[in-house]
Amino acid sequence: MSSILLKRAKTGSDVINSIHRQSVINITRSLITGPPSSTPPTHHHTTPTAAPLPSPVPLPFFSPDVSAQQGINNGEAKPLYVPGSQADRLARVSRMSSPLRRGSHESWWSGEMGWFNAVAKTIPTYRVLDEEGHLVKGTAIPEITKEEALAMYRTMTLIPIVDNILYQSQRQGRISFYMQCAGEEAAIVGSSAAMLEGDEMFGQYRESAALLHRGFTLDAMMSQCFGNVEDVGTKGRMMPVHYSAPELGFHTITSPLATQMPQAAGAAYALKLDEDRQGDCVICYFGDGAASEGDFHAALGMNSVLGGPCIWFCRNNGFAISTPIIDQYAGDGIASRGPAYGLDTIRVDGNDALAVLSAVREARKRAVEGKKGVLVEAMTYRVGHHSTSDDSSMYRRVEEVKEWTVVDNPIHRFRAFLASKSWWNETSEKDLITSHKSKVMKAFSRAEKLPKPKLGEMFNDVWGIGKGDEVPAVIMEQRAELGRLLKKYGDVWEPWRKERKRFVEEGMDVMDCDGRGS
């Protein structure tokens, strides 16, 4: 055995030797980054196209006596300013203006080795009302009319009822999936109320309240969840809650987390370039979990460098599905990342609708005026489960959730404010809830009974077809194939005969065509 190994080793080295010999003999191969071997040698040290770079001047080589002298001179010549004064600050800024030190806004030299892990101190949380709806000391109530306040309140009370009905219907198997807003009504409605008509909105998936407040109808909402013929936004092609409403500036919800964020940066950049849309703004919602995605950093980085009016609205609701924030990040929340990207940042009590409204209004003003991004972190609590695929009692106590709904309920807090203004009372509350319930039930049962869109819709809109262009063959073939199968089995096979009846035109649109589409 050992002799064989030895022999192998010998032949191995022979091979290496022969390769080595070969390479010594014919060096035909040129250097990887160098010029071909046929190029005559030149004495140029610079490439002809490149502009000469400034060459660093070597440091002076001081003799000890010179440096001692300089030290004395330095002390006398260096101007002294009162620390923290305007003159001192300007002197520092001018010292920082060297191009070599770009990248730090206003740093200064220090002989002390200092370590930092926060920009200043812990970022405070702005609120207008406390848990019981009383005004916080030293704050100002944002300008709000009775109509605006009541509109906000109507949406805030409507969404739990919608959530309840649709959540239960998922449990009964009537829709496939649902996500609730519960607990985050103030953050979502407050921010939505601060936006104007021409603004663009990128949601994550828990922002149906924002959509309702922007004018999305209950019928449209229910139609999307059932994917019926009136679902013009997604034509039955998307999971429930993945709304799309271009007419309201609401972009299609995407399931992968945080992908909406770089897109929001792009939309903000488009607004910046478009002369007709100066004054409009983008708001992009995301959660505390999404802020751990690379896309969060990509988006904030892009937006801070390239500009464009955008409000980054973080709903910090304490959980990413089951992962609590304590396992999500170690720094001072999401807000602390804003200054790192050079964005104006505020942390706000997300259960205080008034604080959110006034913070986002100011954020919008800053974003539009500066054509830049502004970060808002709204601190709230997710009362509902993550989605219908989740049971939150597995990872948090039910008592904890109940406590939040009693001790810090965003709806109760806002209602207390309305009552204090005498804009609201018990009878109006009762009337509102009754009317909400009947409206939601009506929309629900109407949407459930409506038929599904035409079967052929499955094949439309895979590609946009330009004027005079053909539908791609791959689409026509598939449509024709389905039509052929339906003709053959649609009436004779029971499951298909039954299923066909659920669709508008019962699949005839596919059967009666050559695949070109309707």
Partner: protein, 402 residues
């Protein structure tokens, strides 16, 4: 150390002698020159110098034709791409270019040369180095009504942004019920280059070609690049435009018509580059060059007439042109620079086998592809990892004679 001492003398005027001054000045200037030279090298991205001698990438016949016809001039693929973008930016205000190094540096491969000077910083944007970030921004800007051209330094880096391209770019139009189009063009060099190793040498045609909602283009000549890039920018859909680094500097004959501002090529239509009656080669990108060379050799030496189809578009795939050709030649060989498994060639052969052309085949169709290994860096191994003219000649001879 010696030069440093000399410099220190210059800075102390009291002890300076005329001789020391003259010698130290030369020392300083040579140091400076060296620094500049090294810096210039350092700022050159990757190994851009092609290792092999430049080859003619069109057949001899076509070359003669190009020089004899007066209406025809030469244009490099680089110029073709550059002029296509410039013309579309002139034509349509909403077109803008973004990516890494595209503005001040004129693009890592100089495709965006001069665009910054012509269109300014708002329309030619250097972005931070975050592929998912600027690809997402391009998608967002397209959803908001602009027509971005998003350059990836190479398609290999676009893997960091593939979610934005596939999940958002490719699907939003369908998901939004046909209400929100996403007219974005992603472009950059694709496929194996020379000597850049496993992570910079991959062909993504099959990857993006498998996604409904994306259009995928893999052009070959300068005319392909002009006509198809302009069509891609005007297309209402997200388009992946897969260029080839090794073709950028190659000149192709180009006609006056192809140079006109309204010259568009239809996406989804292949081109028969050379007609023949004995065997059909279906190929795209740089492999068109090798296939044409092989066809020429086979015709000269063996009298075999090869039909070469330049796919131009990967998706939608122009299967009709291939079917018609196979019905005529009764033989099919695909040539590509990608990996064999689940590749473009596999898809074409599968579709042919499902089509009526199957009954016309006289031999099992064959694929010529890159080797099924990560691309090796070593030059000799890299040469063996991808098809070239001689391999195509060999395979075609075997295909027809055995």
């Amino acid at each position: 150390m010696a030069s440093r001492a000399a410099v220190s003398k210059v800075l102390r005027p009291a002890s300076v002698s005329a001789r020391a001054l003259s010698s130290s000045t030369t020392a300083t200037s040579s140091v400076a020159n060296k620094l500049v030279g090294r810096n210039a090298l350092l700022t050159t991205p990757l190994a851009r110098v092609s290792r092999s001698e430049p080859k003619w990438l069109v057949g001899a016949e076509q070359r003669r034709l190009a020089s004899s016809d007066e209406g025809v001039t030469q244009m490099t693929v680089r110029e073709a791409l550059n002029s296509a973008m410039e013309e579309e930016m002139n034509r349509d205000e909403t077109v803008f270019v973004m990516g890494e190094e595209v503005a001040r540096y004129n693009g890592a491969y100089k495709i965006t040369k001069g665009l910054l000077d012509k269109f300014g910083e708002d329309r030619v944007i250097d972005t931070p180095i975050t592929e998912s970030g600027f690809a997402g921004m391009a998608v967002g800007a397209a959803l908001a009504g602009l027509r971005p051209v998003c350059e990836f330094m190479t398609w290999n880096f676009a893997m960091q942004a593939i979610d934005q391209i596939v999940n958002s770019g490719g699907k939003t139009y369908y998901m939004s019920g046909g209400n929100v189009p996403c007219p974005v063009t992603f472009r950059g060099p694709n496929g194996a280059a020379a000597g850049v190793g496993a992570q910079h040498s991959q062909d993504y045609s099959a990857w993006y070609g498998s996604v409904p909602g994306l259009k995928v283009i893999s052009p070959w000549s300068a005319a392909d690049c002009r006509g198809l890039l302009k069509a891609a920018i005007r297309d209402p859909n997200p388009v992946c435009f897969l260029e080839n680094e090794l073709l950028y500097g190659v000149s192709f004959p180009i006609t006056k018509e192809e140079l006109s501002e309204d010259f568009l090529l239809p996406i989804g239509k292949a081109k028969v580059e050379k007609e023949g009656s004995d065997v059909t080669i279906v190929t795209h990108s740089k492999m068109v060059t090798h296939s044409l060379e092989a066809a020429e050799l086979l015709e000269k030496n063996e009298g075999i007439k090869v039909e070469v189809i330049n796919l131009r578009s990967i998706r939608p795939l122009d299967i009709d042109t291939i079917i018609n050709s196979v019905k005529k030649t009764n033989h099919l060989v695909t040539v590509e620079g990608g990996f064999p498994a689940f590749g473009v060639g596999s898809e074409i052969i599968a579709q042919i086998c499902e089509s009526p052309a199957f009954d016309f085949l006289d031999a099992p169709p064959e694929r010529i592809t890159g080797a099924d290994v990560p691309t090796p860096y070593s030059e000799s191994l890299e040469h063996m990892a991808f098809p070239d003219t001689s391999i195509i000649v060999k395979v075609l001879k075997r295909h027809l004679c055995e």
